[in-house]
């Protein structure tokens, strides 16, 4: 059992948890993830380690409630427990002093990019963050990023905050303004990562993305997390999760991630129904 030390919403459906896991806290490096399971009927969900504190013996994860399990995770409060947390899994981000590095996060991807942005800054890069959201309330971790980055640009699809448009628009502006960009990290929805790869490709800017396939064990035992990079099949959980954006077959990843869509939908509908029922019962009582 892993105790939740603190829990708070950062945006609608996006919750940050600090969890007691001293071993993982001492070991983890930027880019690595854990797998969380919340009950004996639960599924195994991979979540990037957003931060850690060796002194407190805690790790931080940031969860977007999309399906049944992630929503159930987000119903947890401080003082409660997660049943299983295993890690740190995956290879750490490759960090060096590239020169100027741009870290791009879309939605909850900002949380996943956060530790690597921090590591890039610590390695001496001039670090720029572009953080995108549908609208203002979905732009997360801006203050935290301002503390560690040289420049931070929020963007919103609806123009309610910061740059009006997609993260790729802002990225193009920066590149075209003549800033010499040496490295780009992009983490977010697959279409966003694919679009970023297309923006940087003509400039030959080294670009890395973090992939989020469906996983089971997270140790290379099942092959469920396979993706194609540079024409080769890889197991994302052990060979990644970060890969060269210009080599990733995003279309395949997107299709594979649809494998359980109808099961996920039916599970979520049931879950939402039961919440509605609980709510109705609570009101009637």
């Amino acid at each position: 059992m892993f105790k939740i030390v603190s829990a708070e919403f950062l945006a609608p459906e996006v919750k940050r948890f600090e969890i007691e896991a001293p071993k993982i806290a001492a070991k983890r490096k930027a880019g690595q993830f854990v797998i969380v399971r919340i009950s004996s009927q639960g599924e195994r969900i991979p979540l990037t380690i957003a931060d850690s504190s060796v002194e407190r013996g805690t790790i931080t994860i940031i969860v977007q409630g999309i399906g049944k399990t992630t929503r159930e995770i987000n119903e947890h409060k401080a003082g409660e427990f997660f049943m299983d947390v295993v890690g740190p899994l995956g290879l750490p981000s490759h960090i060096e002093n590239f020169g100027t590095a741009i870290s791009i996060g879309g939605g909850v991807g900002t949380a996943i990019a956060f530790p690597t942005a921090k590591a890039l800054k610590e390695a001496g890069n001039h670090t720029i963050s572009i953080i995108g959201g549908k609208s203002k309330e979905y732009v997360i971790l801006e203050n935290e990023l301002r503390e560690i980055c040289d420049e931070v640009y929020p963007t919103t699809d609806d123009g309610s905050y910061g740059y009006h448009g997609f993260v790729t628009g802002k990225l193009k502006d920066i590149i075209e303004s003549g800033t010499k960009v040496d490295f780009v990290l992009a983490i977010g929805p697959i279409p966003m990562m694919k679009a970023v790869a297309e923006v940087t490709r003509p400039y030959g800017i080294k670009t890395v993305v973090s992939l989020n396939p469906v996983m089971v064990d997270g140790t290379g035992m099942c092959g469920g997390c396979r993706a194609v990079v540079g024409g080769q099949t890889v197991f994302v959980c052990v060979d990644g999760p970060e890969f060269d954006a210009h080599e990733v077959d995003f279309t395949l990843l997107m299709k594979r991630n649809n494998t359980y869509r109808s099961e996920e939908k039916s599970a979520l509908d049931k879950h939402v129904c039961s919440l509605d029922k609980q709510f109705a019962e609570a009101i009637n009582n």
Binding site: K23, I24, K27, R37, Q41, G42, E43, R44, K68, T69, M83, D84, V85, V86, G87, P88, L89, V216, D217, T219, G220, M221, C222, G223, G224, R226, V228, T233, V238, L252, K255, R256, N258, T259, Y260, S262, E263, E264, S266, A267, K270
Partner: protein, 477 residues
């Protein structure tokens, strides 16, 4: 009752295993074999000729004292029989169910020369079940605590048997397991209908009661390295029993379509994560109801996968194997059960390509017929493609069950352990010692994919060597 003569014994027919009817069991996940009753067990035990020099024991990788335990069964002293088996085998309820007895003990049994061999496996299972369901699994005696700490990595049969031996010898034992549950392949690979998880759990609980500590969610190499276990955490010796655990794919076009699984993934979803109870359990698996399933391979894993898919409701569940049935490595019992359950066997056929639709879903496989040519290195006749024999079979789900390589996590994180070119740990055969001081290894990580009993035997052998190593060091210090 008067002693039976040899002739009388030989006239008793081999007692069949009571089992669920094929047409109902292929729709549920409860165990296929129901087990002997006391009467059947006694009768079967009477068939043993009590040879002065029994050959059966030579066929048992761990040397269970077969004739002695069978004699106790014939006398009705089942608990004493259980103790007898456990002198050499700590997991009899498991082995009685999954061991390939037909190639081991039973293959050597003299009654099998003219008639049918004694059903040693069924008796072993009966005895173990009798003990578990009457008195509960009885504890062995534990020697005085030695104060020595041993870390066991991996909780499959190799790790469990090593842990059981060492704790009885008085050592403090901790088992580290990467997954959230204990048992290795016994829990994530072999299905409920062949090995109920409750039985594995009872064995694990018994080890816990003896004092073995289990730490799940511990991927050694990541959560702790072997060096950290030995220096920081103070373990005096380490046993590595991490199994095989790296699924092979066939590198065919279309292998990444949705609906193509490795056997490990398919079986893990269904067994460990209980996807057959979705949505009561949260993990889904491809919905095969009314669909066509093809499983590629001819081993136990392939049989488990195909029989599982049938139980999940597949309209057609097929084994596709490139050699012929006689070359299939699966246990005869599994093949026989599969056929009874309506599994179709498509032999001498090899896949060339998976076919799918625009959205990425599998809908067929291009196959080629084969014929048997000259024997290859394994001594089995090599399958050769028949030109012009290609055809397309419509399928909705494919499971690749062609074996496992070894998972590289330990290799990558422990540079001073020697591995061979296939990624298996090299050990000294008599002691299971690796090239790193105080570190031993056994099971599938050493042999490549093998059997439960060989893994257990290796764990046991290593335990003896670890005990010697620890006690030797104790004297020096």
């Amino acid at each position: 009752m008067a002693e039976l003569t040899k002739k009388e014994r030989m006239q008793i027919p081999r007692q069949p295993m009571p089992e669920q009817a094929p047409n109902s069991r292929n729709k549920n996940f409860t165990e296929v074999n129901l087990g002997f009753t006391e009467e059947l067990a006694k009768l079967e035990a009477e068939r043993c000729l009590q040879c002065p020099k029994p050959k059966c024991v030579e066929g048992c990788p761990v040397g269970v004292q077969i004739k002695d335990f069978i004699k106790l069964v014939a006398e009705g002293d089942y608990l004493a029989a259980a103790s007898k088996i456990k002198e050499n085998n700590v997991l009899p309820a498991v082995c009685g169910r999954v061991c390939p007895q037909e190639e081991q003990c039973e293959a050597r049994c003299v009654t099998g020369v003219k008639g049918e061999s004694v059903a040693i496996g069924r008796l072993e299972r009966f005895v173990a079940d009798y003990e578990r369901t009457t008195t509960g699994i009885r504890q062995a005696e534990i020697k005085t605590k030695t104060g020595k700490k041993v870390a066991i990595i991996g909780s499959g049969p190799a790790g469990l048997s090593c842990a059981g031996e060492l704790v009885q010898l008085g050592h403090t034992v901790t088992v580290f397991e990467a997954l959230h549950d204990i048992g290795g392949v016994l829990i994530y690979g072999i299905p409920e209908f062949r090995l109920p998880k409750e039985i594995v759990k009872a064995e694990v609980d018994a080890l816990e009661a003896l004092g073995v500590e289990f730490k799940t969610n511990s991927v050694i190499g990541f959560t702790d390295t072997i060096d950290e276990l030995m220096t920081v955490e103070g373990y005096d010796a380490v046993f590595i029993g991490v199994g095989a655990g790296l699924p092979y794919f066939m590198n065919l076009p279309g292998e990444n379509y949705n609906g193509v699984y490795s056997a490990n993934e398919f079986l893990t979803r269904v067994n460990l994560m209980k996807a057959y109870k979705f949505p009561e359990f949260d993990t889904p698996v491809f919905d095969v109801k009314g669909k066509n399933v093809a499983v590629f391979g001819g081993g136990n894993t392939a049989m488990d996968a195909v029989r599982t898919s049938k139980r999940l409701g597949a309209a057609n569940a097929r084994i596709i194997y490139r050699r012929s049935e006689v070359e299939m490595p699966a246990r005869i019992e599994e093949v026989h059960h599969a056929k009874e359950e309506g599994i179709e066997f498509v032999m001498l056929t090899n896949p060339l390509e998976f076919l799918g639709d625009e959205a990425g879903w599998l809908h067929g496989v291009k196959l080629q017929k084969m014929e048997l040519g000259e024997p290859d290195a394994s001594g089995r006749r090599r399958p050769v493609a028949i030109p012009g024999s290609e055809y397309v079979m419509p399928i909705d789900m494919a499971v690749i069950a062609i074996g496992n390589g070894s998972n590289p996590i330990i290799q990558k994180t422990t540079p001073d352990i020697n591995f061979n070119k296939w990624g298996n740990i090299t050990v000294e055969e008599a002691t299971m010692k690796t090239s790193k001081k105080g570190v031993f290894a056994g099971g599938d990580i050493v042999t490549g994919g093998a059997t439960v009993i060989l893994a257990m035997g290796a764990g046991r052998k290593a335990a003896t060597a670890i005990d010697e190593y620890l006690m030797e060091n104790a004297v020096i210090q």
